[in-house]
């Protein structure tokens, strides 16, 4: 069973969101997702300063096996992206919840996170797949 962190919020498309102390939201992909993708070779993240919207493609994660769109759990301005992933995309595989984060958003409306899945709901969602 892949790792699921209790304190995060999730999408059924296998992204996670962490609400930081300063009110920003960090986005990445789950352990289940990195395992299914296999070795990641390219990561495309949104530009700093650009806007992301819930439900729209915000980036791409590409493994040897397949390319997958990344969705944000919140709308807002992208304030930081993880440069490490450009030179070391394999970090997504080795550390999906920590060093392998994708981008950070200043959210317009934190209530959007309420619509996302909590850890238990995400676990149920993927139980059939694992």
């Amino acid at each position: 069973m892949s790792e699921i962190r209790k304190e995060l919020k999730y999408l059924s498309s296998h992204e996670w969101a962490r609400l930081e102390e300063d009110g920003t939201v960090t986005i990445g992909i789950t352990d289940h997702a990195q395992e299914a993708l296999g070795d990641v070779v390219f990561v495309e993240v949104p530009e700093v300063g650009s806007t992301v919207n819930v439900g729209e493609e915000a980036g791409v994660v590409e493994s040897v096996k397949a390319a997958s769109d990344i969705y944000s759990l919140v709308s807002g301005e992208v304030i930081e992206v993880n440069e490490l992933l450009q030179d070391a995309p394999e970090t997504v595989n080795s550390s999906p919840y920590d060093d392998g984060w994708f981008f950070r958003v200043r959210p317009d409306d934190l209530d959007e996170l309420e619509n996302a899945l909590d850890a238990d709901d995400y676990r149920s969602a993927i139980e059939d797949e694992e």
């Binding site: 040897v64 096996k65 390319a67 394999e90």
Partner: protein, 362 residues
């Protein structure tokens, strides 16, 4: 739930991620396909290829049978005991039923055909055999392990008897030899030096373990695919199939046109195709920017109405960018465009072969 090789439990125990391949449960990787690929290029890695189909051909007319059945000519390996020949097996319409290797075993022949085409191949080979004094024997009692990489031969020898080590020393590239019930060949599907070893099922687990103990890395199908594609080698079902001519699959060099009197199945069609001028060819594609070329992506060539298609695409671990094989109009120049997820991306056209002896050929 598919067929399992004799090493199935071993793969499970070693953390293999098992997936279906042509009706067999095979390891895709054991953790990281990129690491497994690098191990083969830099040291030694091994693959369980027991799912492949071994067919021994014996009898008075074995040679004549194979000379009709195969587009390449087994005469080319006359008098060279253990020598291997790579050939297409064509249907009467000139399409490729399979690609295979045939070994001259001095009085009989051993063929190795693909796993996914097993039933089709056996039905075809048996139907043609009816008119010849020949017997075909499928060797499902044999397992097969491929050990590949610059250290592969040295490490393998260390696990074997003096007699088998000496046999290995005697092998030229693309040649095999027998030792007891084992058949050891200096062949492979990676572009590296190495061995493909056929041995009784009952001895496979112990041999695999001995190789693990001596430091050979276990490698799965995913690494096998990136290695063969870097080496510019075809994969049946991608570069060619029943409806594709060998002449557009970079297999023209495997056709033995001489002697002109040798009638092989499919000859008439591909001979006419050659005479009329072959319209397509298989090329290599290189994308030096981010992104991965993938099979079925459409290729556009400037000034040409006909489009091409990528037959195999991947990320090349040894080069650090994406490569592909594509069947394209023969008039293609140095560049073309590929439709990648809705965007037209310019890529470089090269000969089909990207890495040799661990080094870039580009």
């Amino acid at each position: 739930m598919g067929h399992k090789t004799v090493l199935y439990s071993t793969h499970q125990a070693m953390g293999g991620k098992l997936v279906d391949f042509g009706g067999w449960d095979m390891p895709l990787h054991y953790g990281s396909q990129l690491e497994e690929h690098h191990k083969v290029r830099r040291a030694a890695g091994m693959f369980d290829v027991s799912h492949m189909t071994v067919v021994d051909v014996r009898g008075e007319e074995a040679k004549a049978y194979l000379q009709l059945l195969l587009a390449n000519d087994v005469s080319r390996i006359d008098n060279k005991f253990g020598k291997a020949l790579y050939s297409a097996m064509l249907n009467p319409q000139g399409g490729v039923i399979d690609d295979l290797i045939v070994y001259n075993m001095d009085g009989w022949y051993r063929t190795v055909v693909n796993c996914g085409t097993r039933e089709k191949d056996l039905a075809w080979m048996n139907s043609i055999a009816v008119d010849f004094k020949v017997e075909l024997q499928v060797r499902d009692d044999l397992a097969m392990i491929a050990v590949q990489g610059p250290d592969a031969i040295a490490l393998t020898k260390q696990t074997l008897s003096k007699e088998r080590a000496e046999l290995i020393d005697s092998l030229a590239v693309f040649q095999g030899g027998e030792s007891g019930e084992w058949f050891i060949a200096r062949t492979g599907y990676t572009g590296e030096d190495g061995l493909e070893i056929m041995l009784p099922d009952t001895e496979a687990v112990a041999f695999w373990q001995a190789l693990v103990d001596i430091g050979v890395a276990v490698c799965g199908l995913a690494a096998r695919d990136t290695l063969r594609l870097e080496a510019g080698m075809n994969l049946y079902g991608h570069e060619m199939d029943d409806n594709v001519s060998p002449l557009v699959a970079n297999m023209g060099w495997t056709i033995a046109w001489e002697p002109a009197q040798r009638n092989f199945i499919g000859r008439a069609v591909i001979e006419a195709e050659k005479a009329a001028g072959v319209q397509q060819k298989l090329v290599g594609l290189v994308l030096r920017e981010r992104g991965v070329l993938r099979a079925e992506q459409v290729v556009s060539v400037e000034g040409c109405d006909q489009q091409g298609v990528i037959t195999s695409g991947t990320f090349s671990p040894s080069l650090g960018y994406s490569i592909a094989l594509a069947r394209v109009p023969a008039t293609i120049g140095s560049h073309c465009q590929v439709n990648m997820r809705g965007k037209q991306v310019t890529v470089e056209v090269v000969k089909p072969g990207f890495v040799r002896n661990g080094k870039s050929m580009l």
